[in-house]
Amino acid sequence: MKNALGREIPEKIQGIAGVQVFAGAFATPPSMNRQAPKVKSVRPGESKMVASLAEVFAQIPVTDGMTLSFHHHFRNGDGVVNMVLATAAQLGLKNLKVALSSVFPVHAPLIKHAENGVVTALDTNYMSGPVALAVSQGLFETPVLMRTHGGRSRAIECGQLKIDVAFIAAPAADEYGNSNGVQGPAACGSLGYAFPDAQYANHVVVVTDYIVEYPLSPISIPQTKVDYVVKVACVGDPKGIASGTTLITKEPVGLKIAENAAKVIQAAGLIKNGFSFQTGAGGASLATAAFVRKMMEKNNITGSFALGGITGYMVDMLEKGLFKKLLDVQGFDLEAMQSMATNPNHLEIGADFYASPFNAGCAVNKLDAVILGATEMDIDFNVNVVTGSDGVIMGGSGGHADAAAGAKVTIIVANLLRGRLPIIVDKVLTITTPGETIDVLVTERGIAVNPRRMDLKAKLVAAGLPVKEIGELKELAERIAGIPKQIKMGKKIVAVVEYRDGTIIDVVRQVEGLSSCEA
């Protein structure tokens, strides 16, 4: 059957009960009650400390076919996923489902576990590196379910992603399970992506290498949700966790795009007191923040809040009074971690608060403007951030589709030519974020406005910005780089892209004909 964007979606997909196809960004309202978490009790005097992961596996007990969940706050420095899965493999477990909010190159051992049948299903919001490549080549029989950050939270809350055991890597914890991300050698800042897991999993295991005296403070994940605490030698490599100070790009084309993106926000009339903003940690996104900052300073503007993944740059804007609050679901660098630990206006929020579409209002709904990237965009403004030009999975929505849906003005910043390829195509290979939620594309050679937003287009034209039709930009790119030949994909579905409301927006098929050097 075809979904509202014309994508062919099979009626039955292995691993998904009752396939619902995407019908529009807000076209499928929920009609259900939330999942009720398991009722637990711990008696006075009982200890939650367990000597080892193997011991926890035995006490729960973890059995074949269970779903184990993990967060990705340690990014490429994560040690816990590999440790837990190695334990599962040693104990001879099979058919596990891994629900890991994002998969990084460090998680490469997952491939071996999949080949050995230890892990047979994967549920994630983003993946890059060897696992993503292996998935594209058909690693799993069951398609990988790729969600958004808000969608993962929704799936947990609505009982569609049922977690048997949540293994929560915690930089610091006490013996009764209170945990935070701001202390200890593997400090990562916010633990927001683990909040829904802690709330709804049948069993919650905190894994830490830094035990403090009871009670720990501040508390991110409270003792009331935690069943077990395991101390291990090392939960993660700080070098892979924090990226250090994130630098603003000096690359002239990136700067030009960033400057124009900031001008779009200004022309839209959003740079005023109470302004709210989200941008990524990449060089060009951060550069947009720098241009926006200049405009705010020049006009004496105090913004309301900045949202999402937080960097030192946003911390500096908070400290200089340019924003009143930071809502932090994930910290990217040391400055973000330190600020969250010490600044009462730097708030830690969970994935549900950040972006879940099925609660009584998430933070992305309150955004004025968001800056997002794209690997491909089509003339209907649909965006792909899942697959690369070779068809291989190299990312995922993360919060992309969530923030796009929520913000008043959603801006995609992208080089019109990515390497040798035009960014705009007739049809993107994989739709991650529907065009109806994208308002503006800013490239170095012009700005395209979604025809749904004629109001906005008029404002940008009035401000003298170089507004062009998206078809014009596409032709411009093709004049320089030619029209790339469409790549041929295999038949097998290797991943299913779920929109934040739980409907299926697209599928990813197996890649064919990758030579060994490309692999």
Binding site: P252, V253, K256, R445, G464
Partner: protein
């Protein structure tokens, strides 16, 4: 005077394909594809090839294409032979020291130009003490010369002076170049501000250039263009003033008088010329609508 706007002239290294390809996106009035200082002697031939291709295939939009060739005593002849047939708008000739240099370049250009080709213009880069002394003769040497550009770095080295951000050491040369250009009815373009990270310094330096009478400024980084344009664009206040001048003079002419006054100040021909220039610039830049009225 050549009416082409040259508020900003952006240098692009001739041996950098990415920059050559993207040079048109920054909104500079001119792009200067550089064969001289940005390119090592061993790479001149490769850069010539790249620039020739860029001229034929890259869309520089509204930006004028200017090629900085090598000095006459090095590779100028090969540069002109390779580049002129690719139809650049202008050639920037470095280290010009006299009218005869311009005449030599004109001959080389003529020899290389294709039938029906729009004549390639010349911008003379004055960057030696001798060049400054000869500024007026250089500007008058041939009708192809449309602008004098001033290069402060080499000039200071030639003087044996120390180059500072404040720029007292180049003050005389700047005013000489502006004066010679105005006398010869060509444009004058100021030396680049070489610290791309110092926006305040760039602003101060560009304000000074504008005050002295330069019509534009060379730039070594795309980030500088917005600041430069901000200075050389007529302000709302200036546009309003110019509109009042033109209104007053038209009214006076209607009443049979060639002279009138505005706010107690006499309006004579130079004032009218200045007002007309501001309005032409404002018109070109689409600034007329937003002006005070």
């Amino acid at each position: 005077m050549d009416e082409k706007l040259r508020r900003s002239m952006l240098f692009l290294p001739g041996n950098n394909p990415v920059m050559l390809q993207n040079g048109g996106v920054f909104g500079a009035d001119s792009v200067i594809l550089d064969l001289e200082d940005a390119v090592a002697p061993t790479e001149k031939d490769a850069a010539r090839f790249l620039i020739a291709h860029a001229l034929r295939f890259v869309d520089y939009g509204d930006s004028e294409t200017v090629i900085r060739i090598n000095p006459l005593d090095t590779f100028a002849s090969e540069d002109i032979k390779a580049i002129v047939p690719c139809r650049p708008n202008a050639i920037l000739v470095p280290k010009v020291e006299g009218a005869s240099d311009i005449q030599t370049v004109v001959q080389m250009i003529r020899a290389a130009e294709q039938p029906n080709q729009i004549p390639v213009k010349i911008i003379a880069l004055l960057e030696t003490p001798r060049g400054i002394i000869e500024a007026y003769q250089i500007a008058k040497a041939d009708p192809r010369v449309v602008a004098l550009a001033f290069g402060g770095e080499d000039y200071t080295a030639g003087l044996g002076a120390i180059r500072t951000k404040e720029g007292k050491e180049i003050f005389t040369a700047r005013t000489v170049v502006v004066n010679a250009a105005a006398a010869a009815d060509v444009q004058s373009i100021d030396t680049p501000y070489t610290d791309a990270n110092d926006e305040d310094g760039l602003l101060a330096d560009t304000l000074l250039a504008n005050q002295l009478g330069f019509k534009g400024k060379m730039s070594i980084n795309p980030r500088q263009i917005e600041v430069i344009h901000g200075v050389f664009n007529p302000s709302r206040h200036e546009i309003y003033w110019a509109q009042q001048v033109i209104f007053a003079i038209h009214k006076a002419q209607g009443e049979g008088s060639g002279v009138t006054s505005l706010n107690g100040k006499m309006i004579d021909l130079p004032i009218v010329n200045r007002a007309e220039r501001i309005l032409r610039l404002a018109q070109l830049l689409g600034l007329l609508e937003g002006a005070e009225s």
